[in-house]
């Protein structure tokens, strides 16, 4: 290949955001290469045959927030994205009863009314309110977040746009939004509902991926964050990707390739090359150098700034801010290969309740106690779990008659008292299985294989600092113009030509792809700008090019 080793842009990390950034840049005609450390693309959105015949979405396991514009722009359905509906949520209860919500509103109302007729009505109105709140916040997801302290034309225009949007919401909804931004999810839900499992199951979305409990202030917003995906009603992009979440990455990778991007695996980057305050390329672990005027890191901020760069290349204040970002991974994952389906005491047999999500969240107290364990450095003895059985949705995930079960577990703190060991990992796995077996007693005997992943495993396998699945907690002080940190929320970094695009950037994680897209937009906008000012058509000269 002529000009081997020189590109218009290098993307570090082949997770879904890195792939999205690469796809958008390649689509704009740029010569792009993606460098992935592992042998598979996808980052945390990977499907792997962990045990022969059993395919797992090893880490992230559902799709709800993937931006519709990305699905459209990259023509992902053409590249193999097929989202299967995940339409119900079952919350089994210790007393043998359960709470479920279904795709059909009448059915959901009937079911909730069994527990609380008032909640059945409130559920609908709460849904409307969340719809409005999500719409209020949604414009933020598709734009570089404006900094309210900045007087730059772009930030001012952004603030005006947001202000106009807030005004159009009307005072009641602005008040509701303010509450949502400041309250705990438990307090917020208390204003609406009386049924404990309903409150707890909703509150659970507010604690995912953070070391916060349902009673921690600020958790209400995270709840809204998880509602975002549900507002693009026509897309119904809430579900399970056929083939597992690796097929989401696979579809994006296929799109990127179709636009001409080069995707390399087993190509770990040691360092970003900086000359005179601007990025000029990267050095791989094997010593190879690749050159490009644009380098985009899809890694989290800690790695993007403190590992790929030399700290002395950065202003002290930036180093300080990066070091302050809270990671504190708090989630684990247990993947099971099963010889038969779990038989729940509350709903025996293999009914439709197994085709949706299963949430172990019987009460807000239960979740808060699970958090109490983690607060003091232990894993939850009785954890919150979000369970799906992908083989019921996509039979290809397991051999006929066998099943795979994905158990997302909260809390498993990265900073475990005494540190994570193999024994403690298995003890954590046992706590998960023991707890779930109380609801589905046949589980233990049905387990053929089990894979237990702690935040430490997540960090070691994927490189996510402290195993945080969002590349930094989704807490209000780390969102919008403060994500990943103040003054640098716009995908640029203090190093010219060096960009960031992972879920550690605005608007955050959840297999959204928004960071990758917006970063690519920023790169292209900057190049247009520099073209205009330089009056030249080419990208800046590539130092070191022969």
């Amino acid at each position: 290949m002529s000009g081997a080793g020189t590109y218009d842009a290098i993307v570090i990390g082949g997770g879904h955001n890195g792939l999205v950034a690469a796809a958008y840049l390649a689509r704009a005609g740029k010569k792009v290469i993606v460098l992935e450390r592992r042998h598979v693309l996808g980052g945390a959105a990977v499907s792997e045959q962990v045990f022969p015949g059993f395919t797992f979405s090893v880490f992230s396991y559902v799709v709800s927030l993937l931006r519709p514009e990305i699905i459209r722009d990259l023509e992902l359905p053409k590249h193999g994205l097929h989202i299967l509906p995940l339409e119900s949520t079952l919350t089994p209860l210790p007393n043998g009863d359960y709470l479920a919500t279904w795709a059909d509103p009448d059915l959901t109302r009937r079911e909730i009314a069994r527990h609380s007729p008032k909640d059945a009505e409130a559920f609908v109105e709460f849904g409307h309110l969340m719809h409005h709140m999500a719409r209020a916040v949604k414009p933020l997801l598709g734009m570089v977040p404006p900094d309210p302290t900045s007087l730059s034309p772009r930030d001012l225009a952004g603030m005006l746009r947001l202000g106009g949007h807030l005004r159009s919401l009307g005072p009641d909804r602005v008040h509701a939004l303010f509450k949502l931004l400041t309250m705990s999810s438990a307090d917020y839900l208390d204003e609406w509902f009386e049924c404990e499992p309903l409150k707890a199951t909703k509150a659970a979305s507010g604690i995912i991926g953070t070391l916060m409990g349902p009673r921690s202030p600020g958790s209400a917003y995270v709840l809204l964050h998880h509602y975002m995906g549900e507002i693009d009603g026509v897309f119904r992009a809430w579900g399970f990707a056929r083939g597992g979440n690796g097929s989401v990455s696979g579809a994006i990778a296929s799109a990127a390739r179709s636009f001409g991007a080069t995707l390399r695996t087993e190509a770990p980057v040691r360092q970003v090359l900086v000359r005179n305050g601007r990025a000029v390329g990267v050095v791989l672990e094997n010593g190879d150098e690749l050159r490009a005027p644009v380098v985009i890191s899809s890694l989290d901020a800690r790695r993007t700034y403190l590992e790929l760069l030399q700290p002395q290349e950065l202003p002290e204040e930036v180093v300080r801010q990066v070091r302050r970002i809270r990671y504190r991974g708090s989630s684990g994952k247990v993947n099971l290969a099963l010889s038969e389906l779990p038989n729940f005491i509350c709903l025996p047999g293999d009914g439709p309740h197994l085709r949706g999500a299963i949430s172990i969240s019987p009460s807000v107290d239960y979740l808060e106690r699970a958090y109490d364990d983690a607060k003091y450095g232990a894993f939850s003895r009785r954890p919150y779990m979000d369970i799906v059985i992908p083989s019921l949705l996509d039979p290809n995930m397991a051999p006929p008659g066998r099943h795979v079960m994905s158990i997302f577990v909260q809390y498993a703190p990265y900073h475990l008292e005494g540190g994570w060991t193999d024994e403690r990992r298995e003890a954590f796995g046992d706590a998960v299985i023991d707890t779930l077996s109380e609801y589905a007693p046949n589980l233990k005997s049905a387990i053929l294989h089990r894979q237990v992943l702690t935040p430490l495993d997540i960090e070691r396998t994927l490189g996510l600092s402290e195993g945080n699945i969002f590349q930094g907690e989704l807490a209000l002080q780390q969102l919008f113009f403060l994500r990943p940190f103040a003054h640098w929320s716009g995908y640029r970094t203090p190093i010219r030509g060096y960009y960031q695009c992972g879920s550690g950037t605005h608007p955050g994680g959840g297999v959204m792809g928004a960071g990758g897209r917006l970063a690519a937009m920023q790169v292209l906008a900057d190049q247009r700008l520099s073209r205009r000012t330089a009056g030249r058509v080419t990208v800046p000269a590539k130092p070191g090019e022969a």
Binding site: P117, A120, E121, H132, P352
Partner: protein, 408 residues
């Protein structure tokens, strides 16, 4: 453990059925079911609804209206709760009197509408199209009142049509001749205690019979037997829809949206905008939405709910251009159809039908001021052989059909 598993009943995901299901199901020849408040109800029993509609206007029809939400409201503060909730005056209502009334949110936008029966000094029953337990409960804060959802406990039948009185006199222990319009009486049918109100959704002479769920089948059988000589015909939702459009009666989620579920302000309607002025009583000192409604009354409503009569010659001309005979909406339609005046859209129709009785194509519509004045010439959009056309039409006062027998 296994015995515990065995004890739990399997949970059905089937639509709910009404207490009359064992009687109605075999009659639904075309399996033309539809959903109403989570229940399966018949669109029509026969393959077409024409005969069922004819029974409403010429003989007597029996309509299962059990899916209505029904709330029993009782206690010393029942009147207080209702006065603050609904727009009509409740205190002066006599025991046994029935009030039709909407109720509003704090900004005077309609949440739902239904009938309110005064069963006793401090006992009422409210019907609604959507669940309202939470709304009533929130309004009852601090009041000494008990609200019970009796929707499933009470079946209900509408017996409507010019011969409905004769059928009831045969079936009921007490004659209903003395029962006045919008009054209710206790009575017995087939040995069951029932309540009979002279109300309905057809704009005709008719009654609604409120029956404990366990007595529903017996009452159905008794009514069908008594009605055999009077042409009593079970009728489904399509026939009812034609009748209620002729009667100019609006329907939630078809003709308007509840203020609770509207996504934007323009999806909400005030009682004035629904032409329900007569249900709003400013004599009451306080009720939900009073201030906003008072202000709206001062400035005049921006919209009105009116009748539209399509000009048949204009419609025929449009079909003639396409070389087709005129097509009539023999099945009542629901949707949103633009209404124009002088080339500008001034509103939209939400339901319509061909009236076999009046021989007119009728619609119910929301029109903006000042175009809602009766007899105003307007145009209604219709699709003739794949092309959108506009037929001439006229604004009409509602109801289209109002026979003296309704109140006599």
């Amino acid at each position: 453990m296994m015995s515990m598993l065995a004890m739990r009943p399997a949970v059905s995901h089937a639509l709910l059925t009404t207490p009359f299901h064992t009687r109605t199901a075999p009659l639904v020849l075309g399996q033309t079911w539809r959903r109403w408040a989570g229940h399966a109800v018949a669109s029509c029993y026969d393959w077409t609804h024409d005969r069922e509609y004819a029974a409403i206007r010429n003989a007597a029809a029996l309509i299962d209206i059990s899916p209505l939400y029904k709330y029993r409201i009782e206690g010393p503060d029942a009147v207080h709760l209702l006065e603050r909730t609904v727009t009509r005056r409740v205190a002066p209502a006599a025991i046994g009197q029935v009030l039709y009334t909407p109720w509003c949110d704090g900004r005077g936008k309609v949440i739902d509408d239904g009938t309110l029966i005064r069963l006793g000094e401090t006992v009422f029953r409210l019907t609604s199209a959507e669940p309202n337990l939470r709304w009533l409960d929130m309004n009852a804060f601090g009041l000494d009142v008990r609200i019970t959802d009796v929707s499933a406990a009470l079946g209900a039948l509408a017996l409507q049509g010019p011969l409905s009185r004769a059928v009831l006199n045969e079936a009921a222990e007490q004659p209903v001749d003395g029962l006045r319009y919008f009054r209710m009486m206790d009575n017995r049918i087939a040995g069951m205690d029932v309540q009979i109100s002279r109300t309905g959704y057809t704009g005709d002479l008719g009654y609604e019979i409120w029956i404990p769920a366990e007595g529903c089948v017996a009452v159905w059988d008794a009514l069908m037997a008594a009605g055999a000589g009077y042409g009593l015909t079970p009728a489904g939702m399509l026939a009812l829809d034609v009748a209620r459009i002729e009667a100019g009666l609006l329907m939630l989620d078809v003709d308007y949206h509840s203020a609770r579920h509207a996504l934007i302000e323009s999806q909400k309607s005030s009682p004035f905008e629904l032409s329900l002025d007569w249900t709003v009583s400013f004599e009451k000192e306080a009720f939900n939405g009073r201030k906003a409604l008072l202000a709206e009354r001062e400035r005049g409503p921006a919209w009105r709910f009116v009748g539209i009569e399509v000009d048949q010659e204009s419609l025929e001309a449009l079909y003639e251009e396409a070389d087709l005979p005129p097509a009539l909406p023999v099945v009542p339609w629901r949707g949103s159809v633009p209404i124009f005046r002088n080339g500008r859209q001034i509103g939209y129709a939400t339901s319509g039908c061909w009236s076999p009785l009046l021989k007119k194509h009728l619609a119910l519509a929301h029109l903006q001021a000042p175009h809602f004045v009766p007899e105003t010439p307007v145009e209604i959009e219709l699709t003739v052989e794949h092309r959108r056309r506009r037929a001439a039409a006229y604004v009409r006062r509602l109801p289209f059909f109002d026979p003296p027998r309704k109140r006599a």
